[in-house]
Amino acid sequence: MRRYFLIITPYFWLISLFVIPFLIVIRISLSDPEISIPPYTPILSLEEGWSGLLQFLRQLDLDNYIFLTQDALYWKAYLSSLRIAAFSTIIALFVGFPIAYGMAKVQRKWQTTLLILIILPFWTSFLIRVYSWIGILSTEGYLNQVLLGLGIINQPLTLLNTPFAVYVGITYTYLPFMVLPIYASLEKLDYSLLEAAEDLGCSQISAFWLITVPLCRAGILAGCFLVFIPTLGEIIIPSLLGGSNTLMIGKVLWEEFFNNRDWPVASAVAVILLIILIIPIVLFQRNEQKQQDLGTR
């Protein structure tokens, strides 16, 4: 009896506050704007049996999805999100890998401290961390002041409200997600393998490419997915740092919902975003599963 209580309480919570809401999104994405005004009539009524079901199904249409393919704004926003997420992931990898590598190589007593220092920003507000870059990148900002003061530039650069600012913001906020899995895999690396390679005449650089990189492939992949997946639906960073020039689907969805109040289209945008995300999520899961299988073997 107690066992059922334990199972049913969280189950019920997640069904009613996670599954059902999402079904409503799908339902509204398939209906006309008038129907999306609460209480979302007609709701599927089971009393009428098959005819009720047929009636319900007949009301659904793909108009909103067709609209998405016709309006260039949307597919451009999806493509631009994918591009920004992919670029940022690569940048984060290039910034994060040396940090993880350095961390794995320092003395063990320092490693815990460095680990805490990597995780610490994660506990401070995401919004504040993004906000801190506005002051740095704006035209009168700190970076321009420094560059002007050093005589490197004569005129302030436009950095804020450009894609560059978005890349910086994403790399900055998601860097711990990249560093931690790579560090974890580098830390487990058997360094005698590298010594053996060098004894056998391998240069340090080729030993790195032939041994270190393949052996921490899973960590690198995990880091990339952990940056790529949340970046794709990001809203805060493109809104604060990207200005009106940066198109990302999360921002479009937000504006569609809050400014245009077009709920069916916003719902359709959300459904497609999720469909796009399924691929990296499944690949990520598979990568993690492989890791676990290797660990238990």
């Binding site: 309480t9 189950y11 996670f18 350095g102 959300a270 975003l273 999720l274």
Partner: protein
Amino acid sequence: MKRYSWFNVTSLAAGFAFLYLPILILIIYSFNENRLVTIWAGFSTKWYVELFQNELFLDAAWVTLQVAVISSTVATVLGVMAAYVLIRAGRFWGQTLFSGLIYAPLVMPEIITGLSLLLLFIGIGLDRGITTIVLAHTTFSMCFVSVVVSSRLVLFDRSLEEAALDLGCTHWQAFQLVTLPNILPAIISGWLLAFTLSLDDLVIASFSAGPGATTLPIRIWSSVRLGVSPEINALSTILIGFVTFGIILASLISKWKSLSNSTDL
């Protein structure tokens, strides 16, 4: 063999400078006299004084705190239940769906979670306010708690529970006397994680908040969109101070506990 090289030192120094300089600049310039945030005009604490006279921010901070305490506590209870079910309940009908449901909210983009919850709240005619934000935050936080707690529960030796049961404990007693003390550190870190996630959340809160209940991130967001402001710098410094203090406290406690444990042995 640990090799020490200039490359490693430089990459670590540059990496940590990149991570910490922006926050450091923010803190320093929160004590700037000038209303133009980026131009230094002397030391002053006047923005802190103004912040504490700003009713809007104080109200928002109070709402945020209430939401965070309630949602993280409910989420911890539900998350521990879910973790226990995942690791200990054996097979039951719909188990795959259950574990899928625990992991799905972790990868679901916030914006979709927020949108879908709003549509639900409107659909069932629930007025948006503190209650709806709590419901929304509890839903995603419980999954984080459950992941943290179940990773600890997996490592915990089941035979200890069985021994307690053999010696006449009821299931509840075995949980209370044997399992709970062992997974308590994970429960505490789960609660802290849920608390921080709730304090920090902007996207889901924006969807589930109503006119009467504005959380701090929503308030910050609406003022930050207009650009940098010295008051926000001051507020950020206070928030960063709180978190740093909390983390230092937590690590001191865990150090102290591990020390006292090792002397016990």
